[in-house]
């Protein structure tokens, strides 16, 4: 530990910390452009210069570590002059684009110029020009005149995404950012450079000219596109989503988003969003009132309860729905409709959760932060760059830190570049695990990630094999962590909430599991689809008497329905998602759904009550309260305890959790 003074304030901190970080820790802001805590040091913008007593020249506070008895001044006259100088120099070629630049209002260059810069320009000559704007990709646009060559974008691509697609070409005043590939900026993490860019050089094409930061309402939420559950900010203007930004969660996304998540929101304000329910009259779907649709749907369900066996009704709900909606869905189908034929997937999937299945017990439950500590990471099947892109970044960082990566049972995937070994084919799972264990005998922290297409027997074999090594590794101070890579935002939640024919919420056996398959049952007569598309429904439609669809768009499946209810999307509802590490995170409602679209739980409550039930949920919080009583895995979950950072489903704070 070292003790030093910054602006007359004494501070004791770890040796090796930079002055800029030490200052930040006691609330002193030092302006900077090229410095970023998650990237390598550049020291090139010269904005963060500070004065150290006894040193003749100012030094960059981002590159200088603190030392004992150092005396630092961040606001002396010398420093103020230097700050003014650097801004004056940056502004000579920087175009006066503020009125048309998307960064205006949230621009460090603007803000620092106000606080530290010169009052007027003394440059009366011609600014250097570049052709602009340049579309680097369908998503990212570059303005080379605004660029101050801080190289944050270059370093991000080189170091974090490890897809070096941006470089500086030419030198001096003529230098500019260029893509390395002819196809342009193709990295699936390209959008992060927009948030990193301290000026309006790299901006989003989707967001271009759409809004000003001061006219935006910002709501925290969770990305709906994959099982990572990256935390996001939803920015809304006049009830329309204008962009998504990262909301740093060290344990999940570490402040990054993939492009699918960041740019995949335009559908929410598509003009094709359904605004009213629809009903089939004379073989044509026509708009109708909410009450008409409810009563029609209730009538259909009632008919089936009375006339056919309960087997012939089934329901499918999307794993992009919230826990609350999924819980109500299974409650509706089981208690009101009276069937156990529900699911959240058209294909077979793996569940490793159910207790009483002792296959995993003793093994550590996967947290994303395990990647940061593991000595050995084993990926079995699956491709994180497609299924869980942010895990890609985390695994790359882990390998860079020294973890050995094994990739087994896949073709060439993005992470193969980082793999110590890519084992395309192997005799058997025990063989595979034994080989890996043998090659890494001296290591003690293991992470094994399974893909959800695997069979339970295979998982049992893998777990049995790993457990033979477990006590040895534990005695070395290590652990073996097991995770399942679930690609949808709330597949884990769907399983936990019992949207499967096999289990009730909390994995109580229904006893009927062996009679059912996955997906849409063969003999179904009445099908309820909650935001699910069934590709082969057209061929089967003649055998299905009634189809009720809850959907945001009139897609091919919905077109064949008897009753269509307009759906709210993820940004239009409060609720929670459970990600692949069984972390429960809150979504906050950011916009009101169009027209008469509603959350699924509200719709199902309306139908249930029309059928004589007495449901009185006022909000999704009410539903979570019930979930926490019914589903023992969620017994610690309340909206207060989850807050905005999420919390593990079993309520532990530090992520050290075990299967039991």
């Amino acid at each position: 530990m070292v003790t030093l003074k910054i602006d007359e304030k004494q501070i004791t901190t770890t040796a090796g910390m930079t002055i800029i970080e030490a200052a930040k820790s006691i609330g002193i802001e030092i302006p900077h452009f090229c410095y970023h805590p998650k990237l390598s040091l550049s020291g090139s913008c010269r904005m963060c210069l500070v004065e150290i007593e006894g040193m003749p020249k100012l030094v960059t506070s981002c590159t200088t570590p603190v030392s004992d008895n150092m005396v630092v001044y961040t606001k002396s006259d010398k420093v103020k002059k230097a700050q003014e100088d650097i801004l004056a120099l940056l502004l000579i070629n920087h175009p006066l684009d503020c009125p048309i630049c998307d960064k205006g209002g949230e621009c460090p260059l603007q803000d620092y110029t106000y606080k530290y810069g010169p009052g007027k320009s003394e440059f009366y000559d011609k600014k250097w020009h570049f052709e602009k704007p340049v579309n680097l990709s369908p998503l990212i646009v570059l303005d080379r005149e605004r660029c101050i060559l801080c190289t944050r974008c270059v370093r991000f691509q080189d170091e974090v995404a490890v897809q070096p697609e941006l470089i500086v070409v030419e030198k001096g005043y003529g230098a500019y950012i260029e893509t390395t590939k002819e196809e342009g900026f193709t990295s699936n993490f390209s959008g992060n450079t927009i948030e990193l860019c301290p000026v309006g050089a790299l901006t989003s094409r989707q967001y271009r000219f759409k809004a000003r930061p001061w006219g935006i309402k910002r709501v925290p939420s969770v990305c709906p596109h994959c099982g990572c559950g990256c935390n996001i900010h939803i920015d809304v203007r006049e009830n329309k989503m204008v962009r998504l930004l990262a909301r740093e969660n060290r344990d999940v996304d570490n402040g990054w988003l993939c492009d699918r998540g960041r740019f995949g929101y335009l559908f929410t304000s598509s003009p094709d969003r359904l605004k009213t329910p629809m009903i089939r009259k004379d073989n044509e779907l026509v708009p109708c009132t909410w009450d008409e649709a409810i009563s029609k749907a209730a009538g259909i369900i009632n008919k089936y309860k009375e006339m056919h066996s309960i087997d012939s009704t089934a329901g499918l709900a999307s794993p992009q729905l919230t826990n609350e909606e999924l819980y109500i869905f299974q409650k509706f189908m089981r208690e009101v409709v009276g069937t156990n034929s529900i699911d959240h997937s058209l294909e077979r999937y793996l569940m490793i959760e159910p207790p009483g299945k002792t296959i995993c017990n003793g093994l550590r439950r996967f947290s994303f932060s395990d990647i940061d500590e593991a000595d050995v990471i084993v990926l079995i099947g699956g491709d994180p760059s497609i299924d869980l892109p942010i895990l890609d970044l985390r695994i790359k960082k882990g390998v860079n830190r020294g973890a050995k990566l094994y990739i087994a049972g896949t073709d060439e995937i993005e992470l193969c570049r980082f793999a110590g070994r890519h084992i395309k084919a192997f005799e058997s799972y025990p063989d595979l695990m034994d080989t890996i264990m043998r090659e890494t005998g001296e290591k003690n922290k293991y992470l094994v990630l399974l893909n959800r297409m695997m069979h339970e027997e295979d998982v049992e074999t893998i777990c049995a094999c790993m457990k033979t090594y477990l006590s040895g590794k534990i005695s070395m101070g290590g652990w073996i962590s097991l995770g399942l890579m679930l690609p949808e935002a709330n597949s884990q939640g769907a399983q936990d909430m019992g949207v499967t024919p096999f289990y009730l919420p909390g994995y109580k056996d229904t006893g009927e599991g062996s009679l059912k398959g996955y997906g849409v049952p063969d003999k179904v007569k009445c099908l309820f689809l909650a935001d699910m598309e069934v590709p082969d429904i057209a061929g089967r439609r003649r055998d299905i008497d009634h189809l009720i669809s809850y959907t945001p768009f009139l897609n091919d499946t919905a077109r064949l329905a008897d009753v269509v209810f307009p759906a709210a999307v993820f940004s239009e509802t409060d609720g929670t998602y459970t990600n692949s590490e069984r972390r429960v995170q809150r979504l906050f409602k950011a916009a009101t759904p169009p027209g008469e679209a509603r959350s699924l739980w509200y719709l199902l409550m309306s139908i249930a009550n029309a059928l004589g039930a007495d449901w009185a949920y006022g909000s999704s919080q009410d539903i979570m309260t019930e979930i926490s009583k019914v589903n023992h895995l969620y017994r610690f979950i309340t909206y207060e305890t989850i807050g905005q950072g999420g919390s593990y489903a079993d309520g532990t704070a530090d992520g050290t959790r075990y299967y039991s």
Partner: protein
């Protein structure tokens, strides 16, 4: 005075000639000495870096950790400083002397491989070096693996850490220091970067002992230095002398004085990065300390002489354009500052200056000074401020009269 390096007229680039004059004997002797002993000898000699910074060579070698492991020696033959062409003559005419020096230095620091970074434009030097390397290898004379790396044509690659980046295949931009190259340099390994001339003194120092070298010189600048004299002199060229001769001697005795019987007007004493001197400074001693005291620097020893017909605004304009063009773009003050200086001076030179422009130039220099990432940006300030200091009237004339005091163009 017997030259140590520039022994002319004997075609010493041919190995037979070099050997017949005692070539590679020093390396044989060095191979019998402990590396630490070699470092001590060089320290005692007082030899300082000849590329511009003048850092004591023995001290630099001493920074390399003694623990075993990969280490590198890099010879900086980028010679980008305008007005400097001494290394060119050394590489063209005395390649074996350089190879011998590289070998001895490598032994001293424990390097198994050495990179010889040669400015790409020096095609004859590269040719001579490549031939010399083949010849010396054939006779098993070398004890270190020497790799010749051709530069791509950037002044910034003469900066030692940008040179390392260039060898590693990256854009030539300087690195953060610390860590210093002696601790973490080429490929992250301990590395020493020395100038061509510096390494070429090493064989003499080892063979004849450090005292011989240290005996001559002035102040803390010991031994010999090669000055490249160019400009309006009768006999431009490289001159090897001892530290301590005066600028007057160098220009009038060695280089034959000003051509066409003109009067001297200004002198750049140490390459484009040094502040200019005028007639009143001619009796200054050419050594590191004396020139620093006079507000300029010895630098690389590139002496550019300008006569009475030279337009000093044009001089500043040419030099500004050089720095502006060569800025690597890394840091704000150099990238933007050199553009600003160049633009304004160009305007003044063309007769489009306005009152206040000179004050602007001074202010811009003040905005850049002490803020730049490396010495290039800092150096760009010197020609501007020193020409304004000594020849303000010429700037004013260009601005007010929209004409040049010197009539014609400069050089």
């Amino acid at each position: 005075m017997e030259p140590i390096i520039l022994k002319r007229g004997r075609e010493l680039y041919k190995i037979e000639n070099y050997l017949s004059e005692g070539g590679y004997e020093s390396l044989r002797k060095a191979n019998t000495l402990e590396p630490g002993a070699i470092v001590d000898i060089v320290k005692k000699s007082g030899l300082r870096g000849c590329g511009g910074a003048g850092f004591p060579t023995g001290t630099k070698w001493g920074f390399v950790p003694k623990t075993p492991g990969e280490k590198y020696l890099c010879c900086n033959g980028d010679e980008g400083e305008p007005g400097t062409f001494k290394d060119r003559e050394i590489m063209e005419e005395h390649p074996h002397l350089l190879l011998e020096g590289i070998s001895i230095a490598s032994r001293a620091i424990g390097a198994a491989a050495a990179y010889l970074y040669v400015r790409g434009e020096y095609s004859k030097a590269i040719q001579r070096l490549e031939t010399a390397l083949v010849d010396a290898k054939e006779r098993n004379l070398l004890t270190v693996d020497i790799i010749i790396h051709k530069g791509g044509g950037a002044y910034i690659c003469g900066e030692e850490t940008a040179l390392l980046e260039s060898i590693e295949g990256r854009r030539g931009m300087p690195r953060l220091r610390p860590p210093f190259p002696a601790v973490s340099g080429l490929y992250g390994k301990p590395t020493v970067i020395n100038n061509v001339e510096t390494l070429s003194y090493i064989p003499h120092i080892i063979l004849n002992g450090p005292e011989d070298f240290a005996a001559s010189g002035k102040n803390k600048s010991r031994g010999h230095k090669i000055f490249s004299v160019s400009g309006h002199v009768r006999h431009p060229g490289n001159f090897e002398t001892t530290f301590g001769i005066t600028l007057r001697e160098l220009i009038y005795e060695y280089a034959g004085g000003i051509r066409d019987a003109k009067r001297i007007k200004a002198v750049i004493p140490g390459g484009a990065s040094s502040a200019i001197l005028t007639e009143e400074h001619l009796d200054i001693s050419m050594d590191f300390e004396s020139l620093a005291e006079a507000g300029t620097m010895l630098g690389s020893g590139g002496v550019i002489v300008m006569d009475e017909d030279t337009c000093m605004v044009r001089t500043a304009s040419v030099l500004s354009r050089f720095f502006c063009h060569e800025s690597c773009s890394k840091c704000t003050p150099c990238r933007e500052g050199t553009y600003w200086l160049n633009t304004v001076i160009n305007r003044i030179e063309k007769g489009e200056g306005v009152p206040g422009d000179v004050e602007t130039l001074e202010r811009v220099c003040g905005r850049m000074a002490g803020r730049c990432f490396c010495a290039l940006g800092e150096a760009a300030i010197n020609p501007v401020l020193s020409t304004i200091k000594h020849f303000r009237n010429e700037y004013d004339f260009h601005i007010n009269e929209r004409r040049c005091t010197a009539g014609g163009s400069a050089w």
